[in-house]
Subunit: 112 residues, 2 copies
């Protein structure tokens, strides 16, 4: 399956880069950039929750190194967690990375 | 950028599924499955090292929960680390996740 991994990472970097460069630092998402990414790419995630604290909670949950920003590894970790939490492929699987208690089920994959 | 995240995760799951289902457990890669994935998808990684212990070292490094298998989150973590370590986009960036001392520079992305 040539190029599948490369294409996957290119797509993840395209999305990250699109939002991370808004404030000039291409290596991380600020709170407002993360909010833009969630609204632009994962809007069902926000729509599923009416809680205005959701962005802060996601930021807090993602920001492992507590610097107020979300780096590429943390961003990929979020998308991976959402995929495991929402994709039918993983029915019956116990995630190794615990998900936020507020994480709603959304679809981030085409697998059934 | 609609569908980019979905396409990325579908590609990652395609590759993971292709190798993980070889021994019947679709939720994890055994040592031999990991070896097949590294050879099939990340061959430059193995070619860059003549050390026959490389697969064991990668398995040990990836297998955070020490169950002798690599799950989807651990697999995505590997690809993410290789991307950050090898892609020109991240020049000047200090990874939050330390990479193995033996990790050679390989290209897993199309970014320059």
């Amino acid at each position: 399956m040539p190029f599948k991994l490369e294409n996957a990472m290119d797509n993840l970097m395209d999305v990250f880069n699109y939002y991370a460069t808004r404030d000039g630092d291409k290596f991380s998402l600020s709170r407002s950039e993360l909010k833009g990414l969630l609204r632009g790419e994962l809007c069902h995630y926000l729509e599923a929750s009416r809680d205005p604290r959701m962005v802060d909670e996601i930021m807090c949950d993602l920001d492992k190194n507590m610097d107020g920003k979300v780096n590429f590894e943390e961003f990929v970790g979020l998308v991976t967690r959402l995929t495991v939490a929402s994709c039918g492929y993983f029915d019956g699987y116990t995630p190794q990375i615990s998900t936020c208690g507020n994480t709603p089920k959304i679809s981030t994959c085409g697998y059934k």
